[in-house]
């Protein structure tokens, strides 16, 4: 049973919080729990948006990502690709496989930054190959890797800060915090961990609070997603951007998230499908959606440079 009285939102419970948020205060973990327990979706969204606007105004960044599976890197550059990030996905089978995938990706990326792997997987590769993490990262850096693609906060153990520092000392950027899975939609722990990891190491640019994996029979609800985004915006106030995945969450939910705390869109398609002539390009679609939400679209690349000029003949950014 839900704790709130059915259909009667806990407006009063959130009132005090809304005032403090508007006044610029950071919220506590108890506040975060209160937000997730409430059904007053609009009040929650307004708080998320207030902080987002204080930090970014209407500026909304997005990145077109070309994904390469670690076990199946393409031999040549595929047609119609215009990306700000070439990202290697999947867990590498071995250290050699990781280096090889980075080499293959760099060969076709034409100067677009190559990112890849979760920091957890790289830790696994290091221990399996009997190497130190910084040595693995150095080798990947030499093969052309610019950044570790993600640090899933729920999988990162207590030594996460050390691992982040090791990867950075090897010259890799480590800027993106993600959540692998969120079994309980009311859990505040991932946002707490993101905030604390940032306190410990600094240097993270984005936190993507919505989980990368979810149940097929019981997916998270729209309310759950919006509340997580807004709560993450408020609680992880020390991280610049809250990110939402365009492909994974879909344009409709992702667009709403941009009005309730998120300001950065990940994983916009980098490859246009030539077959569907009438379909708008992904670039038009993302820009149209951002503008329809009253926001200003700005394209960025993997290393957060705005106004990049989509290598490989991509459209110039705004």
């Amino acid at each position: 049973m839900e704790d709130d009285q059915r259909g009667v939102e806990s407006v009063s419970a959130l009132d005090g919080l809304a005032e403090r948020v508007t006044a610029g205060a950071t919220i506590t973990e108890a506040d975060a729990r209160l937000m997730l327990a409430s059904h007053d979706l609009i009040a929650i969204g307004v708080m998320g948006d207030a902080v987002r606007r204080r930090l970014h105004g209407a500026r909304t960044t997005f990145v077109r990502v070309f994904e390469i599976h670690v076990n199946a890197p393409p031999a040549g550059r595929p047609l119609h690709v215009s990306a700000g990030e070439f990202r290697i996905i999947g867990r590498p089978a071995s250290f050699e496989a990781a280096v090889k995938a980075v080499g293959a990706a760099s060969a076709i990326a034409s100067g677009v930054p190559v990112t890849g792997f979760s920091l957890i997987d790289l830790q696994g590769v290091a221990s399996e190959s009997g190497q130190r993490l910084d040595a693995v990262c150095s080798a990947l850096r030499s093969a052309g890797l610019a950044a570790v693609a993600e640090v899933p906060v729920d999988l990162a153990g207590d030594a996460a800060a050390d691992a982040v520092n090791a990867a950075r000392s090897a010259g890799l950027a480590v800027t993106r915090l993600t959540v692998h899975a969120l079994p309980d939609a009311r859990a505040i722990e991932p946002a707490v961990r993101a905030r604390d990891l940032q306190l410990a190491t600094g240097g993270f640019r984005v936190f993507a609070p919505l989980p990368r994996t979810m149940s097929v029979t019981e997916p998270s609800s729209g309310y759950d997603d919006v509340k997580q985004v807004a709560m993450a915006r408020l609680l992880a106030a020390n991280i610049e951007s809250i990110q939402v995945d365009w492909a994974l969450y879909g344009p409709k939910l992702a667009q709403v998230a941009l009005t309730t705390g998120a300001d950065d869109v990940d994983n916009v398609a980098a490859q246009e499908s030539g077959a569907l002539g009438t379909r708008r390009s992904s670039l038009e679609e993302i820009r149209g959606n951002i503008r329809a939400a009253g926001l200003e679209p700005i394209e960025r690349n993997a290393v957060f440079e705005c106004g990049w000029n989509g290598a490989g003949g991509g459209a110039p950014a705004e």
Binding site: H39, G45, V46, S221, G222, K252, V256, L276, G288
Partner: protein, 404 residues
């Protein structure tokens, strides 16, 4: 009036005029629209109940002479992909619906010249004979207009005959945008003008039927025309009080002649909330999860909706245009409760029927909606031969069948 003054006007129970509605629709912050719509929903439904219906969305034929340019569902007369469901197909769908706790079909289809009024009457009668308590929410106004033209009878007579045969209520489909400029551009003016659509509903209400009303936005219409649509519905509702609910959905562009792109999620929530403000004489506002997906479908409950629509079981029209979401009863109820409301099953009159079926007995999960019929199923229903063919293609097909 300023946005704030308009908001106060709405809060105090005032009625919006066209200018005020347009100003709110275009300029009010989305959270403000949501809050106002939420207040009206609470006023109309203070018990915090959100309803849904277990019924099946059946399309008896996809053959259609209307050729609306936004439609990805229809096939022209004579097309190899055209179908008409047999009565037995429909009985089987009813059996499956009843097994899931459903008591009604939403039955709509193309304007098929080879299905005369008698086909519908016989179908309805045979359904009622086999399943006396089962309800038929059937034939949107353009289909009724089509039957008027085929049989050269006036609207009230067609409605009387259909009711006599077993029609229980009329779905509000085919309204698109009730502005003739738009209808001409969408090539749906000839299937029914705005006045013709409203007139069918007027007669249906006078005959004692309740009906719904819909709006398909996001094609070629202006924001003013979306509001004009809502105001025309509000006017008729003032006159008859026969509408149970309003349902807005966004145009689905894939595989259509018109093409283009779909309106966004935020535009949907704004349109829904504005409808709640304008349609102050409609009790129920339905969320369109079938076009918006389950997540934005659920968010609709914060923007004025008090009904999650139908579990559908089957869907053919929206799927043809690219959207294929699915929510079974368990998923709908989970979403309603997750948003802080009480879930109740309802009938076509929006009367609460009770607790979710799956809480009382085991119901299999449905993770994908069914389709009208199997892809390689090209059978012709046996009873179709009982009715005179009108189209040249159908006459030829029957001749070929007879000489085989």
């Amino acid at each position: 009036m300023s946005t704030e003054a308009l908001a106060d006007h709405v809060r105090n129970g005032g009625r919006l005029d066209a200018a005020g509605a347009l100003e709110l629709y275009l300029d009010a912050p989305t959270p403000l629209l949501g809050r106002l719509a939420g207040e009206i929903r609470r006023r109309k439904h203070p018990d915090g109940v959100v309803t849904y219906i277990i019924d099946r969305n059946v399309n008896y034929t996809n053959i259609c002479v209307a050729r609306c340019n936004f439609c990805a569902f229809y096939r022209p007369v004579g097309s190899a992909e055209g179908y008409v469901l047999g009565f037995d197909d429909i009985f089987r769908k009813i059996d499956e619906t009843m097994a899931l706790g459903g008591g009604q079909l939403l039955l709509q289809g193309g304007h098929n010249p080879d299905l005369p009024l008698e086909w519908y009457e016989d179908l309805f009668r045979s359904v009622k004979q086999r399943y006396p308590a089962f309800r038929l929410h059937a034939l949107s106004p353009p289909e009724v207009v089509n039957l008027c033209r085929l049989s050269r009878l006036p609207v009230p007579e067609i409605i009387d005959r259909l009711v006599d045969a077993g029609l229980d209520s009329i779905p509000g489909g085919g309204a698109e945008i009730l502005v003739d400029r738009v209808r001409k551009l969408l090539n749906c003016y000839s299937k029914a003008t705005a006045d013709e659509w409203l007139d069918v509903m007027r007669h249906a209400h006078r005959a004692g039927l309740r009906t719904t009303a819909t709006m398909m936005y996001g094609t070629v219409e202006t924001p003013e025309e979306r509001l004009e649509h809502m105001f025309r519905l509000r006017e008729l509702q003032d006159e008859t009080g026969g509408f149970t609910a309003f349902i807005a959905w966004s145009y689905q562009p894939e595989h259509t002649e018109l093409g283009g792109s779909e309106a966004t999620g935020v535009e949907y929530l704004r349109t829904l909330a504005t409808a709640r403000l304008v349609l102050d004489n409609f009790d129920n506002l339905q969320a369109s999860w079938v076009t918006q997906g389950g997540k934005v479908g659920q968010l609709s409950l914060a923007y004025g909706a008090n009904d999650m629509g139908s579990v559908m079981i089957e869907e053919n029209v929206v799927r043809a245009a690219g959207a294929s979401y699915c929510m079974d009863e368990m998923e709908i109820v989970r979403n309603i409760e997750n948003a802080g409301f009480t879930a109740r099953r309802r009938n076509m009159h929006y009367e609460a029927l009770g607790e979710p079926i799956f809480r009382g007995r085991q119901v299999p999960r449905t993770l994908e909606l069914a389709v009208a019929r199997g892809e390689d199923d090209a059978t012709r229903p046996p009873e179709i031969g009982r009715y005179a063919a009108r189209s040249a293609a159908e006459k030829k097909a029957r001749q070929a069948g007879a000489t085989e």
